[in-house]
């Protein structure tokens, strides 16, 4: 028996809304299957299953917002002793501390092995006192600041009160029995003006609360007249809903929820980014390095290659730069990994986070897995796919959960240099500016060459400036031989 839980899809996530189930009770699932769509503050994310077995029951209805770690479904696993559920971070920590996970007794919900469990093992480093005070579900602990539970406070402090209420609601609130516990205090109208109790879906209730819409003034189009999210959106007129003049019947709506209203999404995204960046600046002693890289060879190589290629296969300079950034991260492993309570944990592979700005504002930084091992054309294809899905479609849980180092590239917006803020628990962020033509002295001659300013923001707890300098030097050297990338 295994529980499928709300995963932590990135360090800035504290809760998520289950927006769609892609399976039903009785379905057989395999580890890695995409089983649900979860809406976070930033994006709709396709979530993979961590177990194999048969879906026994679904615990949470679409539209319900639950905290990270909350069980969403029960899966009957065929193997009696399922492998312990361990997050990548905990696995890294165990490997680093020499702890065999098979011998660890998980104290997290559902026997999940938490960071504290690993650190309590004899062979691990000194157990961090602050880890014992953690009361959140395992998922929250794992994505929380390694410096201790106190560091998680800002995240929960800024979370609306409805979160704690939702976490205590173990039974999914049904449409017909709206629980006042899930209603944020600001929502007010759990009952109508006439004292009449208003039926509404949890998502509708949340939308109404945030938009200040009185539920009692609406005519619900859902089952038994329940107010649905679509009803709220139709009065908000924030984003014109494409076509549904006639509302869908409720079951259809449940499996195809309309996108969350633009203004709400933007606010939530702003808050999620702000919380994570504030935490980064509060905890991480950043140091910054900058260097200018001659891109003449790389530009020439790209140009000649692209002349022979159909448009669909052409490469952009970003693909070369990302490949070089990934290879350099492999050369300087002190910058590729996570800062945990026991110190720096290098990652075994380079999962290159790519900062993608979203239209209408906002930022996501999903990972290109094993970027250092991908041939440049493959990396280019993955980059295009990732950016397209980040902006228009859906990201996958595994992509948002585990970047080991992130690259931000503001060159397309015209700036020459960007000194970024590290995404905890990562320890480094590479900034790439615009490729510009500049006078350049080489071999005693002055010429005009395309150059790019590459910067590194790194965590001084994990590395020193000399290490960071080696990274930028490696990046420069790699870009001088584009054909070998």
């Amino acid at each position: 028996m295994a529980e499928f839980r709300m995963p932590a899809l990135g360090a800035d996530m504290t809760e998520g809304t289950l927006s769609e189930w892609l399976l039903q009770p009785g379905d057989r699932v395999s580890r890695g299957d995409i089983v649900a769509v979860v809406e976070t503050a930033k994006a709709a994310i396709e979530v993979e299953c961590f177990d194999s077995g048969v879906v026994e029951r679904l615990l949470v209805e679409p539209g319900t917002t639950v905290p990270v770690g909350e069980p969403l479904a029960v899966i009957a696993t065929s193997v009696p002793e399922a492998a312990p559920v361990v997050s990548p971070l905990v696995r890294h920590l165990a490997a680093e501390s020499g702890v065999d996970l098979a011998t660890v007794h998980g104290t997290g919900p559902g026997g999940r092995i938490t960071r504290a469990d690993v650190m309590a093992e004899p062979s691990s480093g000194p157990p961090a006192a602050e880890a014992t005070g953690v009361v959140e579900p395992a998922g929250v602990v794992e994505q929380a600041a390694p410096r201790g539970s106190s560091a998680t406070a800002p995240a929960s402090a800024t979370t609306p009160p409805s979160v704690t209420a939702a976490s205590s609601a173990t039974t999914p609130p049904s449409v017909t029995a709206p629980s006042s516990a899930t209603t944020p205090p600001s929502a007010g109208p759990a009952t109508g003006a006439a004292g009449r109790r208003v039926r509404a879906t949890p998502l509708a209730r949340r939308l109404a609360a945030e938009a200040g819409v009185d539920l009692a003034t609406l005519t619900g189009t859902g089952a038994k007249g329940a107010v649905r999210a679509a009803d709220i959106r139709s009065v908000l007129d924030v984003r014109p809903v494409p076509s549904p003049v006639r509302p869908h019947p409720a079951p259809v709506q449940a499996t195809h929820p309309a996108p969350v209203a633009a203004s709400e999404r933007q606010q939530a995204m702003r808050r999620a980014t702000g919380d994570l960046m504030a935490r980064s600046k509060r905890e991480i002693p950043h140091y910054y390095l900058s260097t200018t890289v001659d891109l003449a060879a790389a530009t020439r190589w790209l140009r000649e290659l692209n002349l022979r290629l159909p448009v669909a296969e052409r490469l952009v300079p970003a693909a070369l730069l990302l490949k070089a950034a990934a290879l350099a991260a492999r050369e300087v492993p002190q910058l590729n990994g996570f800062w945990t309570a026991s110190g720096f944990t290098p990652a075994p592979a380079v999962h290159l986070g790519v900062a993608v700005s979203l239209r209408g504002g906002g930022l996501v930084a999903p990972a290109i897995h094993d970027a250092a091992d991908l041939p440049v054309p493959e990396l280019m294809a993955r980059l295009r796919d990732l950016v397209a899905r980040a902006r228009g479609g859906r990201l996958r849980g595994s992509e948002t959960a585990d970047p080991t180092i992130t690259v931000t590239s503001l060159g397309d917006q015209g700036v020459e240099a960007v000194f970024g803020v590290i995404h905890p628990p990562q320890v480094a962020l590479v900034g790439l500016g615009r490729v510009v033509e500049r006078p350049w002295a080489a071999g005693g001659m002055l010429g005009v060459r395309p150059v790019v300013t590459a910067t590194l923001s790194a965590d001084h707890r994990a590395s020193d400036g000399a290490t960071g300098a080696r990274y930028l030097a490696a990046l420069d050297r790699l870009l001088q031989r584009p054909e070998e990338l």
Binding site: V311, R359, Q413, G414
Partner: protein, 80 residues
């Protein structure tokens, strides 16, 4: 195609990439790349879709002409 058709095609394709693009605010000689905040991947999408829909080859050397609506439309008229 004539200039108006080319311009319409260009605006069509740009709208596919930037759904809320407002061309009224973009003069014929202003950089669309800047006005619509197109990054290099968006620009590649633009080139790919344009060459597909117009049935003409667009090389990297032509990219500067696609910077503006007027330049892009002229390029399409020339090539088709």
């Amino acid at each position: 195609v004539n200039h108006d058709q080319a311009l319409a095609l260009l605006e069509d394709v740009l709208t596919e990439i930037v759904p809320d693009a407002d061309f009224a605010g973009i003069g014929p000689d202003r950089s669309v790349r800047e006005a619509l905040e197109l990054d290099s991947l968006d620009f590649l999408n633009l080139v790919e879709r344009l060459s597909e829909r117009a049935g003409c080859r667009i090389d990297e050397d032509d990219y500067p002409r696609l910077e503006t609506l007027a330049g892009g439309a002229a390029l399409l008229v020339e090539r088709t």
